[in-house]
Amino acid sequence: MNITLRINGKEQSIECQPGEMLTEVLRRAGHLEVKKGCDTGNCGACTVLLDDKPVLSCSYLAVRAEGREITTIQGLADEAKQFAAFLTAEGADQCGFCAPGFALTVLSMKKEFFHTPSEAEIRHYLAGNLCRCSGYEGQIRAIKKYLEADHA
């Protein structure tokens, strides 16, 4: 069957199997920025925004996303570039496989908080985005500097 998804502001008609998860469908539609890390909703690499809220696309039925606004990191490329500058300045991008999903969650956090989140709040908000390379410290340094720069 075919479903119509609105991805980064553009409608796309995409072939989809019943029961298929959003990650697969998005990747097949050419959205290779959505990464497949764990298949079980644990690692956060497949994070996309659905109506501006982060969801794990590997555990989200593609058909349920019909009629909703899907945003991948490519849809927020300008903001993502700004954050990437901070992340790479710390060397915390490392292998980069978790980065698109992780960066989306950071951007979403920035929008969601009315105040600059504390380190504990940052860690909690991003707890579902796992990284095996960095040990997280460098990412935390980057996020803090990014938020500080933005709120200055």
């Binding site: 697969e24 990464k35 497949k36 764990c38 980069g96 698109p100 579902g128 985005n129 095996r132 390379c133």
Partner: protein, 794 residues
Amino acid sequence: MRNDHIPASPSTDTPLEATKRFNVVAHDVPKVDGEGLVLGRPAYTDDLVPPNALYVKLVRSPHAFARILSIDPSEALALPGVACVLTWKDCPRIPITRAGQGNPEPSPHDRFILDQYVRYVGDEVAVVAAETEALAEKAASLVKVEYEVLKPVLDFEKAIDNPTVIHPEPEIHEMFPIGFEPKRNIAAAYHMEIGDVEKELAASPVRVETTVHTQAQQHVALEPHAAFSYIDLHGRLVIVTSTQNPWHTRRLLGLAFQMPLRKIRIVKPRIGGGFGGKQHIHVEPYVAMVTMKTGRPARLALTRREVFEATFTRHEMRVKVRLGANPDGMLQAIDMQVLSNPGAYGEHALTTFMVAGSKTLPLYNKVNAVRFGGHVVYTNKVSAGAFRGYGAIQGLTGLEATMDELAHKLGIDPVELRRKNMLHEGETSEVFRIMGEGTEGVAMNIESCKLEECIARGKRLIGWDPEHLVREVAPGVLRAKGMAIAMQGSGIPLIDMGSARIEFQDGGFFKLHVGATDLGTGSDTILAQIAAEELGVDLEDIVVHSSDTDHTPFDVGAYASSTTYVSGSAVLKAARSLKAKLIAAVADKFGVAPEDIVYEHKTFRTADGTRSLSLNDFSYDTLYHDGAKMKTIEATESFSGEKSPPPYLAAFVEIELDTETGKVNVVHYVAVADVGTPINPNLAKIQIEGGLLQGIGLALYEDVRYSEAGHMLSHSMMTYPIPSREDVGRITVELVDSYEPSGPFGAKSAGEIGIDTPPAAIANAIRNATGIRLTEYPFTPERVLAALKAAKAQ
């Protein structure tokens, strides 16, 4: 970890002397590929697959040990869109190893791409290819396999001379003597002794003994193993794969399929993490078989479950350490005996086991006698392979636990005990000469070792006071400190070789081609930094292309902490040689001697100042303007280390232990390291921070668990949790100034050293908190609580 208890970073941010000395090296430049990766541009293997590729799925063994009686693919093949089903009958009967190592490999050739026997749950049985992924999955489920189920060996303590012989096949062999005795389930064995250990131990007034058992661990690189293959215009087999070692992969596939190596090309795009887990051939043979059979492109990306069940883990080891010392704490003898579990096949069997001794025992080089030995024994568990730390973490866990036991027995500060006995600059250890990786070692004097500085700064950062290593912060909640020191290596001397080619381009920039394999560490960036520094240009003037067996020069690959030191030295040599060629060419153009040319700020000028020419202008001259003198100016150089200078690290940890629940949290982990000149301090620091967290994971959380029948129970990221952002308090990493004369711009390695200390340091902190020596890893709340209860009952 309670989030309100994250300590502030005490980081002193002491600037490095090296940063002042260099222009590009020892500076924190962003990774060259960073922005593209964050933006999610197609970069990894599975992003780059050609559109018409067949999907490959593997039929895997449901049994820990079985003989395949029959395979019936007829139902699968009857499905429209199924291209082929391949079995052991389609593979040449050639034993190989899946370990990406030098030639000849120190791992036994005890594996067939597909075999009539399966030796762990998840072992490959058949290869299925179809037009869609869903169809390939369906077809794989329809392949009917009849097994004769055999009794597996699951406990490595019972493997030697077990009635079950895991490898009865006659064709398998070792490449050179490694103590291979498959009829006894022994994959490898080794023994060495310097001096008379038993005599020295008997004569030592103080003796301690500790046995630790470190578990298997999963790499959990975020990108699952992936490969695709196709036949190119010239009929050659091209494999694009997430590998850490393109050349070893090419060589092993050539052997497995009896193909000339000239018919194979291996390309490594970006890799989503490796940690040693991609130093093996896990996916390449299967896509290759499909492409060779069908002529079609073929793709395979493992599911996370397959990565857990059917790629490699860390070697489980039992490490027994005995120490003899004088009452003043001077060590007299060290004995380390190891039993290692490589699982069903012997990849990296001998070498990980030897590194347990060779990269730990030299730390305490003042002993009269030292002995190392043991066995590596087959079991019907998933194979173990290379994993960051590579035996050193296991050996060190035993050694550093026992050192602390000695400190307790003598009643002295564990820091002082180590300082009294440890290796210093200008010294050596006999162990370097005797123990290599599978072979004899290479004698080496230590030209850079700043362990004293690492310890002094680490003590300051954690607030080390040997009189107050434990305090109760709430009823039943203890805060305690512990420590450990570590060393690693920088490549395998006289075995690892890397090469680099640098070519001058119009526009005045340089192409840097390296065989070295960036697996997310940033090695492309640091190699470009080395080239830029030596060529006197900016980092942007270096365009890097790496890891393609057709288009880049040879490199053994990214492992054994080798890239900065070995491949980096090759880049430095090539840059030096290219600079000399550029100067000679300009001298020739000006009609002066090369000594009369001064090159600085991207400009050549004659010493008398009469003529000058920019690098940019010269690039057009040499390629377009200079008639008969026109030429491509390039240099290719190789490097193989004559030594393997160890990086060092001093670690101090503060833990919180809840005696009611048994839960142990890391509040603060301080590591101060000597990695020589860090080519990119940020990237070196991140390597260590990431390594520490992986080591903390091993110490506290991560465990590869099996059912009694040998099915892996921890086969998802749900059941095998890796540390999250909320699990650990603060990690503080600092680098001390150090300069390794044999390394590029003074550099040593940084990739592995970070992982080595956490299991020992955390165990030592728990010992300081409770008086209990925990030896069974990981230290889960259940285990800690049981130990506390047992201690109370006594």
